[in-house]
Symmetry: C3
Amino acid sequence: MTQHGDPAPRTTPTDGRYERGMAALAQVTGTEHPAVLDPVAEIAPDLARFTVEFGYGDVWSRPGLSPRQRQIATVAALAAMGNAAPQLRFHIGGALNVGCTRREIVETFIHATVYAGFPAALNALSAAREVFAGRPEEESGADGGDDLPSAPAGDDRYARGLETLRAVDGPAGEHVVHALDDIAPDLGRYLVEYVFGDVYARTGLDLHTRELASVAMCTALGTAAPQLRVHLRAFLRAGGTREEVVELMTQMAGYAGFPAALNGLAAAREIFAEQDAG
Amino acid sequence: MTQHGDPAPRTTPTDGRYERGMAALAQVTGTEHPAVLDPVAEIAPDLARFTVEFGYGDVWSRPGLSPRQRQIATVAALAAMGNAAPQLRFHIGGALNVGCTRREIVETFIHATVYAGFPAALNALSAAREVFAGRPEEESGADGGDDLPSAPAGDDRYARGLETLRAVDGPAGEHVVHALDDIAPDLGRYLVEYVFGDVYARTGLDLHTRELASVAMCTALGTAAPQLRVHLRAFLRAGGTREEVVELMTQMAGYAGFPAALNGLAAAREIFAEQDAG
Amino acid sequence: MTQHGDPAPRTTPTDGRYERGMAALAQVTGTEHPAVLDPVAEIAPDLARFTVEFGYGDVWSRPGLSPRQRQIATVAALAAMGNAAPQLRFHIGGALNVGCTRREIVETFIHATVYAGFPAALNALSAAREVFAGRPEEESGADGGDDLPSAPAGDDRYARGLETLRAVDGPAGEHVVHALDDIAPDLGRYLVEYVFGDVYARTGLDLHTRELASVAMCTALGTAAPQLRVHLRAFLRAGGTREEVVELMTQMAGYAGFPAALNGLAAAREIFAEQDAG
């Protein structure tokens, strides 16, 4: 029923979704005839077909986000969820195949410490190490060997954090910090020093992409509603567009489920309305 | 302290919970003397006992859901949570042991793409493939070899999806779709085409069971409150009873924790009240 | 760039955070020169440094919680999240290294059945078994061999549970149970019998530590808002302080991400205000 290397659809595809999906999957895998879904097709040929048609033919092929943006958002979301190691490895490879650098992938996982905690970030990093090790031919600057250091220099982490926080969040940023003065001033300080002084101040990812990753992680986790709102605003401030937001939520349907996507869109609608109201 | 193959209770069980639990566990494992908890009993004999007494003696043995319903709900929940691979494999085997078909299990995981995303569904499918491979004697139609294809035929996915959506959700369904018109019309289209045209229209699971799985997944995830309400309504529309809802939430206490169960019940109470109010 | 066994900072650390962090990490690992971050440092030296500086130098070294409390909270949170097995094993070892007993660790995971379900608890127990097996020199009473049984004796689980519930939650506890009378009286009964009669009545963890674990799990999961409020109150009733609550939330930033910590603090602020209002 299913030909080797090609989870053939049972119904005749006249709408080109399957072909478009296989072309997209070829880009992500970096191979002409992706066989990654063969084991799935063995017992669930329709699931293999849906993955190609919906995941790649409908969603991934859309023009609203570049392949690089899609792959950064996907590895960010899978890193944060922490429960899909095979797919995380697959999409780290996919990120490299569509032109993301090792440095960008590593930066995305350093960024993930903020949203999903160090264990999730460290496990994603392990996955990256494995994938990188399997591609020795493209040894690059990810290990820092031939790269500018991306860690901000100097010791005044608080001042640097505050400056970055203002750039990222505008006036609302300081509010977040001072909102902790009454109960946990040290955590407020860590927010400035670690999150903004150490992580956001890094140069390895531009702010637009960094906030794309933040929104992807908060949406996929589904447990960070207030932070999702903050970072939707920050993404738009960083030059992100509403179209990109909607596109990202659409992509999250495939990786974190439709409920996550729909709840993310509900938050986006509120932020858009807030901005329209001035 | 603990006899081989039998995590013996330290207190004398006079209430029959332990015996009832072991009988239930025997059904799920398909063996007369289940040894699955022996490694647990080595360092935590009470945890092994609680699993038998509470999980199987108190909850699993209750008459409100059939063993098949319980196992479908459990594999759906574990697939969605994505963080308990050994138990997922165990309960896939258990589902087969109480009479679920391979096809039903595979359909449950195809259904899971909607609620938990493709990575979770694909990993659950991998677990199923492993379990199926370990039971070659019962080679069945799960691979489609001798089964009716369950993928809906024809290309008019939108029309088919709309029809299914109306059958599932009643008038409220279209509201969900049109609620996206202002912000993400394409995601609204995918909801109709993929979720309802491709997945819900499939014949491999009856709608009652399909919605049982939806409610189980939304409850276990704990991040899909609006969708849990929608699917509680749909479950009741599909012939599900309030007693089954309460029973399912009770079962979720064991697999996703009491908070998940209590929050699910709070949602159920609201939906019941809404229906009583007409 | 990175010296073996020492993820050296790229910027000169003049503030002692790195040294303080390495000293803390040495306590957790029980080794003078912890090498656990070497593989991370290979491809992401800054992530290794952040882990030491922020996770151990800033947070873990703080005086507000003892090392034993921190490790119990961490293994509780990682057990509940269920998606960071390497870190769970590492921190089980760390718990033993700072003086937690095997019994306390096992009790924490029995306690986790309530908040995260049996699969999460059983997987954490498996991790504990592995870690314990790797330290045969300290064979202790965790397997019950030379320990008082901690399972409460006698069969009147409901009466015992009700008594424990009153001690833990005060008058509010019974409200929780009776709130289920209309919809799921049996689940209300299981709450009394299993959660309070079987689990909370156990002697292996003092109530203060038990509630610390409850709050850690509800905060890390991020899906148990009503229960987090209940257990913040119970933690304070059990002799826990506001300072400990704030400290715990600060620690959760590192293990479950800043959103989890900030949302936990928002709940704490409400409970503190409620108590100040009388």
